[in-house]
């Protein structure tokens, strides 16, 4: 017997406890409504799990399970295998944050893809461990202030680059992997719908601003995620079986400063000589991504040496004895 509420068909219903302006809540609402309630959802530990199933309450109107932090992809593998054994083809969808995808969940995700499970894995990427209070993850971009990559007299924030996770995913003979953001709903919609037409493992990385962790006005979540695309820092791409098959090209490139300025997590970079060095590096990274994915018709200026520096200087994190970028520059 169908026990669903006939008057409410949205998968993620109202009344949950996300912060105002939560990019992940917006993204999850978009994705799950596009997929619909005739699917099974597996959630990694994280904000989405906490704010939707707080203390015996649930905002989910579809079958939903949370086990632990690292294993969402493996639980999904098991659910999918059970459905396959029973001759059912109910879609299986994983929802995880960047911690549950880039870091602690990567091994299970790799296993799930390698074995070819028919599962859509959606990563709501807010570039840090927001649920535990904004600690750096391997998705946190270089120079960002988090509580575990704090800027200080000897540091300009996170020392390492954001992990290029989609390339790692694509290297698994992956049928479909794409990036999206909440600012471009038609693009996101097309990618979700395309993913749902494909059999096998599929992956979506959705940039989902976190006003609390990114320290921006909660009314600016969509604006900020649009600027991430327009500056070239977060290219919107599609990869099929490891090959680049789609990019959202840019009419013009905006300077990264336009994206960084509204966000408190980059505030320490402005107004100091050391910060200016990191700003230059962030611009070089954006330029490199534009060139790599062909986002502009004309080649941009590309500071190869700067963009290739994968560990930045400063103390307060691993590799803290690295020479300063000025020293590297003087050497070369």
């Amino acid at each position: 017997m169908d026990k669903r509420d006939p008057f409410r068909h949205n998968v993620l219903t109202s009344g949950h406890r996300a912060c105002s302006g939560c990019g992940e809540a917006m993204a999850a609402r978009m994705v799950t409504d596009l997929i619909g309630p005739d699917a099974i959802y597996i959630n990694a530990t994280g904000c989405l799990q906490v704010f939707t199933t707080h203390n015996q309450q649930s905002a989910w109107q579809a079958p939903w399970i949370h086990s632990v932090f690292a294993n969402a992809a493996a639980v999904a593998s098991g659910v999918e295998a059970a459905l396959r054994a029973k001759g059912k083809d109910t879609p299986v969808v994983v929802q995880a944050g960047d911690g549950g995808t880039f870091d602690i969940g990567l091994q299970c995700l790799s296993g799930m893809i390698e074995r070819g499970h028919d599962v859509l894995f959606v990563c709501y990427d807010n570039e840090a461990y927001m649920n535990t209070g904004v600690q750096r993850s391997s998705s946190t971009p270089h120079a960002v202030r988090t509580t575990t990559s704090p800027p200080g007299r000897l540091s300009q924030g996170k020392h390492h680059l954001k992990k290029d996770v989609i390339s790692i995913i694509a290297a698994h003979h992956m049928p479909y992997a794409a990036t999206a953001t909440i600012a471009y709903f038609p693009d996101l919609k097309a990618k979700v719908e395309k993913a749902m037409r494909i059999k096998g493992p599929r992956f979506l990385q959705i940039l989902s601003p976190c006003p609390l962790g990114w320290v921006h006005d909660s009314a600016l979540s969509v604006t900020v995620s649009r600027l991430a695309v327009e500056t070239g820092l977060f290219p919107l791409i599609e990869l099929e079986h490891g090959e680049l098959t789609g990019v959202m090209r840019l009419a013009e490139q905006k300077p990264v400063e336009e994206y960084l300025r509204p966000q408190g997590r980059f505030k320490h970079l402005f107004g100091s000589k050391a910060g200016a060095v990191e700003l230059r590096h962030l611009q070089a990274l954006a330029d490199a991504r534009i060139r790599r994915y062909g986002l502009l018709d004309a080649d941009t200026q590309w500071d190869t040496a700067c963009a290739m520096q994968s560990v930045r200087h400063g103390r307060g994190g691993y590799a803290s004895s690295m020479p300063t970028s000025e020293a590297v520059k003087n050497d070369t």
Binding site: P63, W64, H66, S67, A70, N71, A74, K86, Q107
Partner: protein, 392 residues
């Protein structure tokens, strides 16, 4: 029909007879032969299951978690480091009250790394909320595996069948495999009421806070405790149908009129029974008690069986470092609660595959307790020549 089978193959055949729909595992000695046989059965078309090669034991446990939540009967097996790597997920399976069945091919835990048998791995998981059944023989492993699915699915609790690595998994023994029809009669098709299903959407694994978390834990404790009569009943029903029983919670041997009881778990109990026979022949009032069910801990049944003895020797193949024998500690608590002050000697031995020979077991019996004041356990002598115990 009786067949000469390696323990791992016997278990794999028993798994096949239970018709799991999903099997997930990761290789680890001494469990590997079990999943190798299952993989071959799937490849031969003898077992209609999805066989999933997990990327780790953590993944394997998570896959069977998902499979059971998705409405399929599932199986996994592991040992030692693999069991410890599963730990977080095993607690989670128990908390979610998912009827998962697994085999632990008992093996020592490193460091130092050691592939041979003791009970340290599964004993370390004693608080996880799993039913733990320790088997003595390969026949019992087969029968207990089949009973385990029945128990798990009736109680909505996970069951771990613990069998000694190598001593059982790699030993050939004559085993009577039940027929498929008989197992089908004993074990109904898998049905899990909280199956993830869009037509009846449920949230599994949501949050809980201080106002209700303790009630969940208390309900879990009650469910595991209440499994005791279920374990006994299904062993009795198994006896009716298949003509074999394994003692339910525990199995006594020549305990009538015994002044001393030797208590232990697993494959070492065969040697213990031989020692009891020898000592009985010499007029010593000795008996043995094999604990089959360690979780739930059958405190009342133990007290009942041991109420007449004056001395209890617990042979333990695991140690709680910094405290001593785990089994003896729990037994002492049970006796104390029943107002009994029977001395309990905790003898830790057989670690890392060391053989607990009849000679060693007998020497333990002959030792008057040499415990220093306040010592709660001692280690078994490492090796005793046959003539050293010949007190005849």
């Amino acid at each position: 029909m009786k067949q000469l089978l390696e323990g791992s193959q016997a278990v794999a055949e028993a798994v096949r007879l239970c018709r799991p729909q999903v099997v997930a595992a990761y290789p680890i000695t001494p469990q590997t032969h079990i999943i190798e046989h299952l993989a071959q059965q799937v490849a031969n078309g003898e077992l209609a299951a999805e066989f999933i090669n997990a990327e780790s034991e953590f993944g394997a446990a998570s896959i069977v978690l998902g499979a059971v939540a998705g409405g399929a009967r599932a199986f996994t097996a592991t040992a030692s480091q693999g069991l410890l790597l599963m730990t977080e997920v095993l607690y989670n399976i128990a908390g979610l009250r998912l009827p998962v069945v697994m085999v632990c091919a008992n093996r020592a835990v490193g460091a130092p790394i050691n592939i041979f048998s003791d009970h340290q791995d599964s004993m370390a998981l004693r608080d996880a909320g799993w039913i733990q059944l320790y088997v003595e023989s390969n026949q019992e492993a087969v029968d207990t595996l089949i009973q385990a699915y029945r128990i798990a699915e009736a109680c909505e609790l996970p069951v771990m069948v613990c069998m000694d690595g190598f001593f059982l998994t790699h030993t050939f023994e004559s085993v009577d495999l039940p027929t498929q029809a008989a197992v089908d009669d004993f074990l109904p098709p898998f049905h899990f009421v909280r199956t993830l299903d869009p037509a009846d959407p449920m949230t599994l694994g949501g949050g809980s806070e201080a106002d209700n978390y303790q009630e969940y834990r208390s309900a879990q404790q009650a469910a595991v405790e209440d499994a005791q009569p279920v374990i006994e009943a299904f062993d009795a029903e198994f006896d009716d149908r298949f003509g074999r029983a394994h003692g339910g919670l525990l199995q006594a041997y020549r305990l009538d009129g015994a002044e001393t009881a030797l208590l232990g778990m697993g494959s070492l109990m065969g040697a213990v029974r031989d020692v009891v026979d020898k000592l009985r022949d010499r007029g010593q009032a000795v008996g043995a008690l094999r604990l089959r069910c360690f979780r739930p801990f059958p405190a009342q049944a133990l007290v009942r069986y041991l109420s007449g003895v004056q001395r209890i020797i617990v042979l333990e193949k695991a140690i709680s470092i910094g405290a001593g024998g785990i089994l003896a500690s729990e037994l002492r608590a049970a006796l104390h609660q029943a107002g009994m002050m029977t001395p309990v000697e905790s003898v830790i031995g057989g670690l890392g595959g060391r053989d607990l020979t009849p000679q060693v077991i007998e020497s333990v019996f002959h030792e008057t307790s040499r415990d220093e004041m306040g010592a709660t356990f001692r280690f078994a002598p490492d090796h005793v020549m046959p003539d050293e115990t010949d007190h005849g």
